[in-house]
């Protein structure tokens, strides 16, 4: 089983991103689960969401404390949340930032992957909504979900022009980290 923890701020679509991971993983013929860290959601407040991917039906319901992957949608969270908490040394953390990873002062043995998802999202979507872009980076860095499956999940969720732009954002991020 692979466990993924997403950190974001309320309104950034972290829960949607977790859901899309679950849908994509299921497309890959696996079992999956996605759920929010049920907070009192407020726009801008730190939030978490979780996803699990496994070959067998997933029974466990507890939150994720030792993730294989961490996705950080907003680099300012590093000042207020221990985003790398429990991250497995062989795992990966993918952070949306324009800063070089050496300057992030992250306490983890895991591989750190940075991507300026805000820039990609602004250029392609015209809005600083980075969740789908970060999914493209996650897909490229982890290969835990197939790009085709992720695209299918996105296309089901976002129709028309919005869907097309999101697919482009995913492709851009995917290629940048691959």
């Amino acid at each position: 089983m692979k466990e993924i923890r997403l950190h974001g701020r309320g309104g950034q679509g972290s829960v949607t991103a977790a859901e899309l991971i679950a849908v994509a993983a299921f497309e890959d013929q696996k079992f999956s689960q996605a759920f929010p860290a049920f907070g009192v959601e407020r726009r801008g407040a730190p939030v978490m969401a979780f996803a699990r991917i496994a070959k067998e039906p997933i029974r466990i319901r507890s939150q994720i404390y030792e993730p294989d992957y961490v996705i950080v949608q907003d680099v300012t969270l590093l000042d207020v949340v221990d985003v790398a908490s429990g991250l497995k040394p062989e795992g990966k953390i993918i952070i949306n930032t324009d800063r070089p990873k050496e300057k992030l002062k992250l306490k983890t043995q895991a591989e750190i992957i940075t991507i300026d998802a805000t820039k990609i999202a602004m250029e392609i979507l015209g809005r600083p909504i980075v969740n789908t872009t970060m999914l493209g980076a996650f897909c490229g860095a982890s290969r835990e979900v197939g790009l085709e499956s992720l695209n299918k999940a996105i296309s089901e969720r976002f129709k028309g022009d919005l869907g097309r732009k999101n697919l482009e954002a995913i492709k851009t991020a995917y290629e940048r980290v691959s």
């Binding site: 079992f31 029974r59 319901r61 507890s62």
Partner: protein, 409 residues
Amino acid sequence: MSQKMSPPIQKDPQKRAASMRVVEGSYAVAHAVMCSMPDVISAYPITPQTHIVEHLSQMVADGATDAEFLTVDSEFSALSVLVGSSAMGGRSYSSTTSQGLALMYEVLYNVSGMRLPVVMTVANRAMGAPLNIWNDHQDSIGARDVGWIQLYVENVQEAMDATPQAYKIAEDLDIRTPVMVCMDGFILTHVYEPVELLDKERVRSFLPPYRPEHILDPANPYTFGAFADPSTYTEFRYQQCEAMVKSMAKIEKAASEFQEIFGRYYGGLIDTYRTDDAEVIIIAMGSVVGTIKDAIDQMRAAGKRVGLVKIRSYRPFPVKALKDALKNAQVIAVLEKDVSVGYEAGLTTDLKAAFYNSNLRMPIVGFSAGLGGRDITIHDIERLVQKAEAARAGIESEFEFLTLRKEIL
């Protein structure tokens, strides 16, 4: 001779099927309600139940069901509306949680006392004060004695599948008792996971149309819930108790008939997991059962003989099934998400009472955990088992808070 249904237990009810889809728990429940062909749905939003009635509202607007969808001014009204609609012969549904269920309290007795087969989803949530929107079982355990059947579910698929089963049980003319389907708020209502969505036509073959014997009808007048003085009141309660006893066989039958059509089975009144040679048996209900199963597999791999009994039906309380499932345990650990302030907690006390006048004398220790949404981890389950094992040498504490943070007291 009693016709005991003993279907082959399908241990893996979530085998991957091509027709499965990843959906939110609330959507799955709304879909199950829609497939159950309700006549009246009453809705008052309250977290974490809101998504269920939002999805139903959409389904009504889309014409997926021709149910009357009533938005009301409170939970008190939500259930009161259903007293009327159910008494008039309409299949009736609502859902609520926590303070909403508490506000319904008076009406809960009216529904059960009038023998109205209402089905309601309770998205289990803690009771305030202090205000808390997260999951535990205090709300429905607190409504233990209101005369409703209470079914607890482990995952989204079971939450969905239990809904038409609940109508079948409730509307049986031998039972005529309302049913609460209790699903963990947030943990199950807000999770996305693969489920096989029910098919309306197949549900129709499982659940016949509601055909009540008595309805409110000006052409053929009856009185519902009328005055009962001391000469008859006891007999009303007695008949409710009798119906609850009879409902045990009906709950098992509904589960078996459901399995015949849909191929999924979750146990009748209870289910067991690796109990055959278990020395320590954990008893629990709701979504934590899944986490416990994973914990048991890990402990089994380390040589510990641990098993699980999952309670599906808390009311009626399945005494005989529990005694059969637990008779060879050396110690029983109850894990429950509620507390009776002043004396232990519901399930622990009920289980001890069930065993007292029997020859079963293994220690029973109770643990409250997961209150107000505190996470229950595999590590917590391992600690629970350690404590239970220690109780074999002598019980130090019959009941405790498993994950109490003493440092902040």
